[in-house]
Amino acid sequence: MGFSAGDGRSVSEALSDPVTDLDLVVMNADDLTAISEHSYFASTAAESGIRSALVSTLRDDEDLVAQIWICARTPAEYSELEVEFISHISDHMKSAIVNARNSESLKQLQQYLVGQNEMLAQMQDGVEVTEGELRVSHEQLTELNDSKTQFMSEVAHEIKSPLAVMIGYADLLRFDAVNLGPEQREYAASIEQSARQLAVLIDDLSDLTNIESGHFTTAKEPHNVVKVIDSVTEGLKVSDPNIERRLLVSDALFEFEVEGDPARLSQVFTNLITNALKYSDDDQPVEISTIRTDSESIRISVTDRGLGISDEDIDRLFTPYFRSMNPEAKQRPGTGLGLFLSKSIVEQHGGSLTVSSEIGVGSTFMVELPPYSSQSLADVA
């Protein structure tokens, strides 16, 4: 008896064909010889005198898992019982082999996953380290920032003491001017001027440091900004009779309520007016006007007929430490901080600082500030 592939194929085809249904094939000597070409085992069997074989092919889906050859040196006939037995064993073997294989794959998969896991854990550590480093850097930067502000305010304080001495004595010399020769009076005036410049520089640098570190304080109270402007102009006039001649106030409002810091706004107007005086000649006027705009804001204009500002300079005018390369402008002392600070203050007050200028003709700086509205307070109450 024998089994065939059932679909008309020869034994050899069946043996090497992975898609055969039939797992069990019985072969005689002739069959063996016939498939020797295709099957190494078959040729070996034939050569060693095998006359019959029972071959069980184990497949897992389409994979050839194993083949079991039961061989005899005599032409054999296998009983149904024997075939059943072999078939049974084959099934078990197949299961065992397939399981082993799967477990092998499982093990590999497991190892792979463990590996991935370890990688992820390492990446996580890496991220945490970076996070930690960033946090430390941030803390260090904040500390550095604070100590820069601290340092600046200590330095400013230390410098102001000897400055006070210089300015005070220069003042005294001015009081005693009658007892001094004209040269001595000039020397004293020079000393005072330089000392005052230094004082302004120190204050500006302190302000700059505070702005950069976020410690810049401004009060917030409603007040009459026209009064602030008046104080500034009066103060300047009193300090120098020539300035009194040069400062012209036109189109003045009597009052305009804004919300903010009168001291800081005073800083702004002082800066703009002293700039106008500085960058124009001693005999040229500086005009200050205050008007109410269409949008109910106040516009304060400071106009000079002095050097004027070039187009390229205008772009960088309000940046810190900016000084024009124009030799006429460079000649006059300045820190390059005033306009930057003024703009910052004005903007903090919800306003704007702009300029229009022409080289050789003059400049007009305009501050616009919104009105104080008690509306906002009413809403809160």
Partner: protein, 125 residues
């Protein structure tokens, strides 16, 4: 009119004396906060000009002492200091100082403020 000036920096003391004397005031000097009490008791000044940053007993402590002592509480105190933050102005006012002249001040300004404070205290008296 007698003014007590308190500042640890000798140069500033000399300057203050010169400026105030020139304006017609009599001046007594204290170099730190600890001697202020005895000066007040012995010399009875009409006004005190007080620096803030002094070693040992600083201006704040001195001001507090002055304002808690019935003998000195009514003497007007003007702070003269290089500290010039808004919080310093506020603190000085809260503690009872009548004015604050930030250094560097001009002599004119200082004298103007001294006169103002003296006038105010005389009116109150």
């Amino acid at each position: 009119m007698r003014i007590l000036v308190v500042d640890d920096v000798a140069d500033i003391q000399v300057l203050l004396v010169a400026v105030l004397q020139r304006a017609g005031f009599e001046v007594i000097e204290a170099a730190d906060g600890t001697t202020v009490e005895s000066w007040v008791r012995d010399s009875r000044p009409d006004l005190i000009i007080l620096d803030l940053m002094m070693p040992g007993m600083d201006g704040w402590d001195t001001l507090e002492l002055l304002k808690s002592n019935p003998e000195s509480i009514d003497i007007p105190v003007i702070i003269s200091s290089a500290l010039s933050e808004d919080e310093d102005f506020d603190k000085a006012r809260e503690m009872g100082a009548v004015d604050y002249v930030p250094k560097p001040w001009s002599a004119d300004d200082l004298i103007a403020r001294v006169n103002k404070a003296v006038e105010a205290s005389q009116q109150a008296a």
